[in-house]
Amino acid sequence: MTAVGDVLRRGLAEDLGVPNGLEELHVLAVDDSLVDRKVIEQLLKISSCKVTAVESGTRALQYLGLDGEKSTAALNDLKINLIMTDYSMPGMSGYELLKKIKGSSAFREVPVVIMSSENILARINRCLEEGAEEFILKPVKLSDVKRLKDFIMRGEGEEKGKRRAPKRKLRDDVFTCDELTLESPTKFSAKRSTSLV
């Protein structure tokens, strides 16, 4: 049961289209890999986001009430600020999930980010054309989550659909162990390779 004050605060925040400072961003993460789910969950938690992590596109649609099974009236209270989904999943792919979300009236405005370990241009273009906010190369890092969160926090208060998140250049921070240099006996740092492989 929520207090009257909470309801009023939430209502006001929603009218303004700005996430209430007291409310956390709620992110739905979709990934069939147990290890990746654990990592993304922690990345988001440490960035002060509320996380719901599911293992498939089917489960994601069920959670969102888009599977045609439940009455969507029951899900009016469900506030999702961001959906992050893996691309390659057995059954429904992240791309197919993206299309279903963008095709729904309830969630088409929610930014969807696709994650993939494979840097395939055709795949990236296909996802962006279908309305994905961004395509992130795995493994996902803390800086990726921070960038997304900043974008969502700003974007929620602005005109929808006009802004895009500053994109990480896909090969910006690839580097190999060879490029780790030892600066001193107790500290070392990595040189970043900016060459396109």
């Binding site: 890999s33 147990l34 290890v35 990746d36 654990k38 990592v39 922690q42 990345l43 938690k45 440490i46 390659s88 370990s117 795995k138 493994p139 890092k141 803390l142 580097f175 190999t176 162990c177 780790l180 030892l182 107790t186 500290k187 070392f188 740092s189 990595a190």
Partner: protein
């Protein structure tokens, strides 16, 4: 061994793991995600990785035993292992998976079998190293110290 000495040993050990290519920067990312409210995060995710990997290696062994190898299945398993090893920063395992996938594409059964062997070796080696690292961390914490992740900079 006093805490300071244990911490120095930890720094030297983890540096050697990075230098020898067992781990890459993604492992440092995991260290950054561990805090007071999630003090066992690294151990938990590494344990999940061990369980996941051993399952996948068993599946791979079985699939490659069949007379008509289903290369799509082999590739799917290797892709999964590549993903999880990449997510925790197990670089050599990841690289072995990348080579493995090339042999899958060529439908080269001998190449695949050799890669599987290599993959198993890489996996068990990094597993030993990580278990040793975790034991060191547990000793440091038990002695009242903290893990000096600030010594790692990227």
């Amino acid at each position: 061994m006093e805490v300071g000495q244990m911490q120095r040993t930890w720094v030297e050990y983890i540096k050697s793991l990075f230098r020898e290519g067992f781990l890459d920067s993604q492992f440092s990312q995991l260290q950054l995600l561990q805090d007071e409210s999630n003090p066992d995060f690294v151990v938990e995710v590494v344990t999940l990785f061990f369980q996941d990997s051993e399952r996948l290696l068993n599946d791979l062994t079985r699939v490659l035993e069949f007379p008509n190898v289903d290369f799509k299945k082999v590739d799917a398993h290797v892709h999964q292992l590549k993903g999880s090893s990449s997510s925790i920063g197990a670089q050599r395992v990841k690289n072995s998976c990348i080579r493995f996938r090339m042999f899958c594409e060529e439908r080269n059964i001998d190449g695949c079998l050799k890669c599987l062997q290599q993959l198993k070796e890489e996996y068990y080696t990094v597993k030993n190293r990580l278990e040793a690292l975790i034991r060191l961390e547990q000793q440091i914490v038990a002695a009242g110290g903290s893990i000096p992740i600030e010594e790692l900079t990227f």
